[in-house]
């Protein structure tokens, strides 16, 4: 009797532990776009976390130990069950910035994973050598990360078929809309803001649909087209993200953009692209797809973009007076209320605009959108109201009422510098809260040190988040003459805010929350 009960409890504990562990791994697989190579890289980079914090070491040790335990009576089994329960408890899912979404694909993945796990459990139960197999249970649990990978690999052919069917369906819908104008937006940064701005500006005259937040892959576009595109839409704005060469060409091949905007080129995802040239090449895949009666809008302030030949009809925009670009913003002034600037269009039309948004790069992106809207037949004067109404994208240089500038979604050095420039323009006490930059490859250390040096003259206090991340920033700040007593290191964001709140009261406080680590770090 005890034998049977303890066995049942053991298997229940085993199942619970496997499930909770898998939640984390599946979550990470989802964040890495279900791509095995990226997922494996994540596993490699986070070995320490998986082995120690997630208790792989514990499971593996128990697995080895249980090969030597004799006999495996109910006490041993109960003890093992307790280990599983404790382990499961320690791995309860934590609050995530982008939580796991139970999509149909995740459900299919789980189906496969459960079959694998049930097979492992059955093998243990029915094998004559329960002693050895007890170790087998722990072994299987310890291999959860790999089992998830295996399930993903098993499901891949089916997933490809399903994806292919969805893509064809989206293509059919797009082909049936003769009067739809498609505008593609890409760039290393600024594309989400530009997308939102452009949608608001074009709404002055047109019915606009844009791909929603972070839906910048082919499947994201497919979902948008299948679920959101209505016959009444005149314009579809597609944000195109590139993790590797060919990504943008794949999206363009589906949506066939008539107009394109390339916002900026920087060193994001340098790990997968290896060189900046590869990044430029990937972004300009958009230009390659623009037809001869279309237009490619280029940021004339970006050295990389400016110097690239496209062979397509080009319109340039800039925030530098005398840039010689087609659309230039000038007389830019920034205050607590936001920004004010003038734009001149070819042909002499000019107009003064005001916006709640901060930062030169925002003005730059708005100017790009003004160029597109103007070329699509909307006079500048009709754009004054929509620009006045623009809202900052959440967490992107968003001025909050409590004096915080939330730039926590930024993750590139140029954006970091721009945010520091904005911070430096405020009066009173200026505080920087940041964990620095990640995903920058071998140059990460140097870039963070440079950012630290750049920040030294632009803030009065700096709170660095994360002990692992802090050293290069700290080094840079101190080298540039930042006082050490104005520098703090906090283990996490909540502690960092506590430190900010305990700072001396020195006039109006402005706090820049710069970058926030994604969940997979």
């Amino acid at each position: 009797m005890l034998e049977a009960i303890s066995t049942a409890i053991l298997f229940a504990a085993f199942a619970a532990d496997c499930f909770l562990l898998s939640l984390h791994f599946v979550h990470m697989l989802q964040l890495n776009s279900y791509q095995n190579d990226r997922y494996r890289r994540w596993m490699k980079e986070n070995r320490g976390q998986i082995i120690y914090r997630m208790g792989w070491l514990l499971l593996a040790t128990v697995a080895v130990a249980s090969f030597f335990i004799q006999p495996t009576d109910w006490k041993v089994r109960t003890a093992c069950a307790i280990i599983f329960f404790i382990h499961a408890y320690l791995n309860l899912p934590k609050k995530a910035k982008k939580p796991l979404v139970f999509t149909a694909r995740v459900k299919r993945l789980y189906a496969t994973y459960f079959i694998l796990t049930a097979a492992a459990g059955a093998a243990v139960y029915f094998s004559g050598m329960f002693r050895i197999s007890l170790g087998g249970l722990f072994l299987w649990a310890s291999l959860t990360g790999i089992a998830v990978l295996a399930a993903n690999t098993i499901n891949r052919p089916i997933e490809n078929k399903i994806a292919g069917w969805y893509i064809e369906d989206a293509r059919k819908i797009l082909n049936s809309m003769d009067n739809l104008t498609v505008i593609g937006i890409t760039g290393s940064y600024g594309k989400t803001s530009t997308k939102n701005f452009l949608a608001s500006l074009l709404a002055a005259r047109y019915n606009v649909l844009m791909t929603p937040e972070s839906y910048n892959t082919t499947m994201g576009v497919v979902r948008t087209v299948r679920e959101k595109l209505l016959p009444v839409h005149d314009v579809l704005i597609v944000e195109m993200g590139a993790r590797r060469p060919g990504d943008i060409a794949e999206i363009c091949e589906l949506v066939r953009p008539k107009y394109g905007i390339i916002t900026a080129i920087g060193e994001q995802h340098l790990e997968t692209f290896k060189t900046v040239e590869n990044i430029i090449g990937a972004k300009f895949e958009l230009a390659d797809y623009i037809p001869d009666d279309g237009l490619i809008f280029l940021n004339g302030d970006d050295e990389y973009i400016k110097n690239k030949k496209t062979g397509k009809p080009v319109v340039t925009y800039s925030v530098r007076a005398g840039s010689g670009c087609d659309y230039t913003a000038f007389d830019i002034s920034v205050s607590r209320e936001g920004s004010r600037f003038t734009v001149a269009a070819p042909g002499g039309e000019r107009c003064v605009f005001t916006t709640k948004l901060l930062g030169a790069h925002n003005i730059q992106n708005i100017t790009g959108c003004i160029a597109v809207a103007h070329r699509l037949g909307i006079p500048l004067s009709e754009l004054v109201l929509p620009i006045r109404r623009l809202k900052p994208v959440e967490h992107r240089l968003q001025l909050l009422p409590n004096g915080y500038i939330d730039d926590s979604y930024n993750s590139n050095p140029a954006g970091f510098r721009a945010a520091l420039d904005v911070l430096s323009q405020f009066d009173g006490q200026r505080v920087l809260v940041t964990p620095g930059m990640v995903e920058l490859g071998e140059r990460q250390y140097r870039l963070n040190r440079e950012l630290g040096a750049y920040a030294a003259s632009r803030c009065d206090y700096a709170v660095l988040v994360g002990e692992k991340q802090a050293p290069p920033l700290r080094e840079g700040l101190l080298e540039a003459g930042f006082q050490e007593e104005r520098l703090f290191i906090a283990p996490d964001l909540h502690k960092a805010i506590e430190i900010v709140n305990s700072l001396p009261n020195e006039g109006q406080r402005t706090v820049l929350l710069e970058n926030d680590l994604p969940d997979n770090y």
Binding site: S200, P231, V232
Partner: protein
């Protein structure tokens, strides 16, 4: 992929049948290369019906049979569009009967044109043609309309309004006030009716009391105003929205009685119902109106101002009263969904019916876009952090 336009007509209104004619005219005029036309008939008991037969005027020879053979539906929001769901639903069957992108209300009179249907469409979250809830309601309540127009400095006749109960309680007082204020003749109207139903002219006290009784049959509130002498009626339609609107040519309806009555207004050519010649378009009229150029310009200007003052959108017809001797000109009423959508006025102005409908749909989409640009909901649920103690008034 063509946009589906649902044309709503019928409704619990004295102008039910007229609305059917207007609705079916709009259905047949919609440009089929750009839109799918979907008929949605609202019965006199406010049930919704659809089906392929509902777009044919012959179906409505017998209203009971029309409804029996149709599919009863309820409209529901459907991801930026709206769906018509079969009601009552059938088990194990797809109950989505149709999905539409834009609604086109072609209903006349109370319980429909007065903002009621617009409120429903607003809740469905679909773009719809024509006036919104407020301008529809203002257009229907003649007393409220006068108040707003007066505030905008537009010429309207002074009026007195009272409820049935007020009149019953103080018949003599009210009668004396009317005689004192206006003398005779006066016009008596139900305060919120679209057509000429219930309207009468009184030359003396006896006719006044009869007229009030008649008007009270159709409305709980009655409006009295001075009758304009040497009366000439001039109508002018306006197309656009509060930003930009254009007037049509003017028409002059020819009255057989002192007041344009119901049968005159709609049924003078009933034999041809269903064709484009039926309904309002067949009314005996002078088109363009035989009036001096100066007066015509004045009417067109005031029509646009009235349209904008009431916050209208789409197409509306503004009816004016003119004393042909003195030249006095007053805004009499506005039809926020005019019979036959005033297409005959626009044809005379150079805009054909399909183009008129296109323009209405564009305006609907524009308003929808602009409403979406304004924040209506917050992502934060205030109740999530609320303490519910004391909610029932006790703590």
């Amino acid at each position: 992929m063509k946009a589906t336009v649902a044309v709503f007509f019928g409704g619990k209104s004295v102008e039910h049948e007229i609305s059917i004619i207007s609705g079916i005219q709009a259905l047949s005029a919609l440009d089929k290369s750009r839109y799918n036309a979907l008929p949605v008939y609202i019965s006199k008991d406010n049930h919704f019906y659809t089906g392929s037969r509902m777009g044919d005027i012959k179906t409505y020879k017998n209203l009971d049979e029309a409804v029996r053979k149709a599919t009863r539906v309820v409209p529901v929001p459907f991801g930026g569009r709206a769906a018509l769901m079969r009601y009552p639903a059938k088990r194990f069957k797809n109950n989505i009967v149709a999905v539409f992108d834009v609604a086109m209300p072609v209903v006349h009179g109370t319980n429909a044109e007065d903002g009621t249907l617009m409120g429903l469409l607003e809740m469905l979250g679909v773009p719809y043609t024509g006036c919104d809830v407020l301008s529809s309601a203002l257009g229907m309540d003649k007393f409220a309309m006068k108040a707003v127009l007066r505030r905008h400095g537009l010429p309207v006749l002074d009026a007195l309004a009272f409820t049935a109960r007020q009149f019953a309680a103080d018949e003599d007082g009210i009668t004396a006030e009317i005689e004192d204020k206006f003398g005779y003749p006066v016009v008596i109207k139900p305060v919120n009716l679209g057509s000429s139903v219930g309207i009468s002219l009184a030359q003396n006290r006896g006719e006044l009391k009869n007229g009030i009784d008649l008007a009270l049959e159709y409305s709980g509130r009655v409006l009295i105003e001075r009758a304009v002498q040497n009366l000439r009626e001039i109508n002018c339609a306006v197309l656009g929205d509060i930003d930009e609107a254009i007037p049509s040519v003017c028409e002059e309806p020819i009255t057989t009685n002192e007041i344009l009555d119901y049968s005159d207004k709609y049924l003078s050519n009933a034999g041809e119902a269903g064709g484009k010649k039926s309904g309002m378009s067949s009314l005996k009229r002078k088109l363009p109106a035989d009036i001096p150029k100066e007066l015509e310009e004045k009417v067109r200007e005031l029509a646009v101002k009235t349209f904008k003052a009431l916050g209208c959108s789409g197409v509306a017809r503004i009816d004016f009263l003119n004393d042909s001797k003195t030249g006095e000109l007053y805004v009499n009423e506005i039809n926020t969904i005019p019979g036959s959508l005033s297409f005959y006025l626009w044809e005379a102005t150079g805009i054909n019916f399909p183009d008129l409908l296109d323009r209405l749909i564009e305006l609907a989409l524009k308003r929808h876009r602009e409403r979406k640009a304004v924040t209506f909901t917050y992502d934060v649920n205030i109740l999530a952090d609320a303490s519910f103690s004391g909610l029932k008034g006790k703590s």
